[in-house]
């Protein structure tokens, strides 16, 4: 598979008044052309930060401390603000969790879409307006009157459809979807995910799906990366990782998600580590049931567990060199 995005040893920190929050600590990730990859993890694990770093929109007081991101072989690190803007315009698109804050409340839906079309494709306003109506139909809003409505007149599901339409205005190669269905009910979540899967196939886009919903990853992603405390702890094909999780955190996470019956309830003891005062070694060591001496001293690197599956855990180091 051709590589589209390559993230190498990326570190991002937020310089807050409480101290330096180490949001990403040397993360490497690849996204193939036209691939749908899931990025899962709990709150604060750094999954949204990766998405924002790729599009070059890490908010203040955040900074990229190290590492490299390249898209289509082009290194993004040396790019100026304007160059990055141009790059986003032609190649990237983003969808956020809450569509009601992502849309402009005082502009009609059609005008917002037309504005995006005009900016991205350099066409006249009149043409852009027509395209706006067409794109709405493409995302399942067949009623052309919606183009004349304001965001507050639409339901959450409809707004997310508009957001997907907005993302499609530039024919992006990579769509980063950050929790696109987390604010929606399950039956709507299914509708929106089907739509995303549908348009990404039709437009030949790669999708980086950031979510905490492992069920959604299982159904829609080819590959998955599991994050914990600013690190990718396991990655591989969805089937391998979800059927035969290698990392103790992935194992714990999956059993916590499955719930089962009352008697089967299992949980990971403890809480997520403080990202200001990083501990040496493996960040999961204090909660891990299979912790060894080495875990509190040396930080494990992603190691091959089997074909198409890597885990950052000392249990596998030395066992099978990558």
């Amino acid at each position: 598979m051709e590589k589209l995005v390559e993230v190498e040893d990326l570190s991002v920190s937020y310089y807050s008044y409480r101290g330096v929050v180490h949001a990403l600590n040397g993360v490497s990730l690849e996204v193939g052309q036209q691939e749908t990859i899931g990025l899962v993890g709990e709150t604060g694990s750094g999954k949204s930060t990766i998405g924002l770093a790729i599009v070059g929109l890490i908010p203040n007081p955040g900074r990229v401390d190290g590492g490299k991101i390249s898209i289509d072989g082009e290194d993004l690190s040396g790019k100026s603000k304007d160059q990055m803007r141009e790059f986003r315009r032609t190649k990237l698109a983003l969808i956020f969790q809450d569509p009601s804050t992502a849309l402009n409340p005082v502009l009609r839906i059609g005008d917002q879409l037309a504005e995006a079309f005009a900016a991205k494709r350099g066409i006249s306003r009149k043409e852009a307006k027509k395209m706006a109506v067409d794109i709405l139909a493409e995302v399942g809003i067949s009623n052309p009157k919606v183009a004349n409505q304001y965001p507050h007149e639409l339901s959450g599901g409809m707004k997310q459809r508009v957001m997907i339409g907005m993302a499609l205005t530039g024919n992006p190669e990579l769509l980063i979807a950050d929790e696109p269905t987390s604010s929606l009910d399950v039956t709507l979540q299914a509708q929106i995910m089907e739509l995303l899967a549908d348009v990404s196939k039709k437009k030949q886009m790669a999708v980086l799906l950031i979510t905490h919903n492992i069920g959604v990853v299982s159904r829609y992603c080819e590959r998955v990366a599991v994050m914990y405390a600013g690190n990718i702890v396991e990655t591989g094909t969805t089937r391998n990782v979800l059927k035969f999780p290698a990392h103790p955190y992935t194992q714990g996470l999956l059993s916590a998600v499955k719930l089962g019956t009352r008697k089967q309830l299992t949980s990971i003891p403890g809480t997520v580590p403080d990202l200001i005062n990083l501990i040496p070694g493996c960040p999961f060591a204090p909660r891990c049931s299979r912790v060894m001496d080495v875990c509190s001293k040396v930080k494990p690197r992603l190691t091959k567990v089997k074909d198409d599956q890597y885990a950052a855990c000392h249990l596998y180091e030395g066992a099978m060199p990558a």
């Binding site: 009910d185 399950v186 299914a190 069920g215 299982s218 996470l253 916590a256 719930l259 809480t271």
Partner: protein, 333 residues
């Protein structure tokens, strides 16, 4: 014996307008819901946003006054309870809210928050109350050192533990859990649920558990009710509902939840459109517009009533034949 019983419970919120602020129309949030909860049982209500599940809990706890119907608690009609009777009731029924960030007073320490129930209802001495608070904290997996801290010093999971401690402080008979884990991460969710199940068994609590998370309901509930637009569309034992969902809405709802196991290929029923608004005129069967089985001339004219289709499995749908519940997997004892 049943501890709680609702009969034809109804909550219409008026939408006012015009110069005289007269009710122009109503939001029928809950429209004729009847169920019973046995002593020591956990009854789970599932449904999507706006289906009325939280409103039911709030009516039972007397936070809002129903516009119709009756609520019986321990055999007594509490629909019109007030004053002294209401205060006594409050000690016997408690609630845990969805958002632990807004349900704890930010200006009080954990000790002050947890002492309140003893102060108000039990008139304990300060020392005795403090002693009880420490015991409570330990029961929910916290310790004495946490007592002097303020809510902002805790994580979401820890805050929810404090909220649970407050709810069980007076050993109530009935607790209403309103989406207690939906603002938490999954690994924390499992911790909290484990703690809840433990406490419930220790105290023999009777619970109403409301959530939109179907896996959570399957995990904790003994019996399950499925709600759609203010109506109960299906009820039955946990095993019956999950092994043999009968109402077309229940089926679609369950099929929409993607399974974690990539090898499980669920039959997917895509529902067209979205949940209709509960304002104004509604079709006889609330699910008529989106139902794959809907029959014109029947479902839009005659309202389906909850009826037993075998083994106590109740469904409100014209298209489900009698006896369909006989295929349920029996309840494991």
């Amino acid at each position: 014996m049943s501890l709680l019983k609702t009969e034809d419970l109804q909550m219409y919120f008026p939408i006012r307008g015009g110069v005289l602020r007269r009710a122009k129309t109503y939001v029928r949030a809950v429209d004729g819901v009847s169920f019973t909860i046995e002593k020591g049982e956990t009854f789970g209500l599932v449904g999507e946003s706006g289906s009325g599940k939280t409103t039911i809990g709030r009516m039972i706890l007397k936070i809002i006054q129903p516009t119709g119907g009756k609520i019986y608690f321990d055999g007594v009609d509490i629909t019109k309870a007030k004053g002294k009777q209401l205060k006594q009731l409050r000690a016997r029924m408690q609630m845990v809210f969805q958002n632990p960030y807004s349900s704890l007073n930010p200006r009080k320490t954990v000790m002050q928050i947890l002492k309140d129930p003893f102060r108000i209802h039990r008139h304990l001495s300060n020392r005795e109350a403090e002693h009880r608070v420490i015991t409570l904290l330990e029961m929910v997996g916290l310790s004495a050192e946490h007592a002097q801290r303020y809510p902002y010093e805790f994580s979401g999971g820890q805050r929810q533990r404090i909220a649970i401690a407050r709810a069980i402080a007076l050993s109530p008979e009935f607790v209403f859990f309103d989406e207690p884990t939906s603002s938490l991460d999954v690994s924390v969710q499992a911790q909290i649920l484990k703690n809840l199940v433990q406490l419930q068994e220790t105290f023999g609590l009777t619970c109403l558990f409301v959530t939109h998370n179907i896996e959570v309901i399957q995990c904790v509930a003994d019996r399950v009710g499925v709600m759609y637009l203010g109506k109960l569309v299906e009820t039955g034992t946990n095993e019956a509902i999950f092994s043999n969902p009968l109402h077309p809405y229940t089926k679609a709802l369950f099929s929409a939840v993607p399974d974690v196991d990539p090898d499980v290929k669920k039959e997917r029923i895509m529902l067209p459109g979205e949940i209709t608004s509960a304002v104004g005129k509604l079709p006889a069967c609330r699910f008529f517009n989106r139902c794959p089985l809907a029959k014109e001339g029947l479902c839009d004219v005659v309202e389906p009533q909850l009826r037993d289709v075998g083994k106590g499995h109740m469904v409100a749908c014209h298209m489900v034949p009698d006896g369909a519940g006989l295929a349920d997997v029996p309840r494991a004892s």
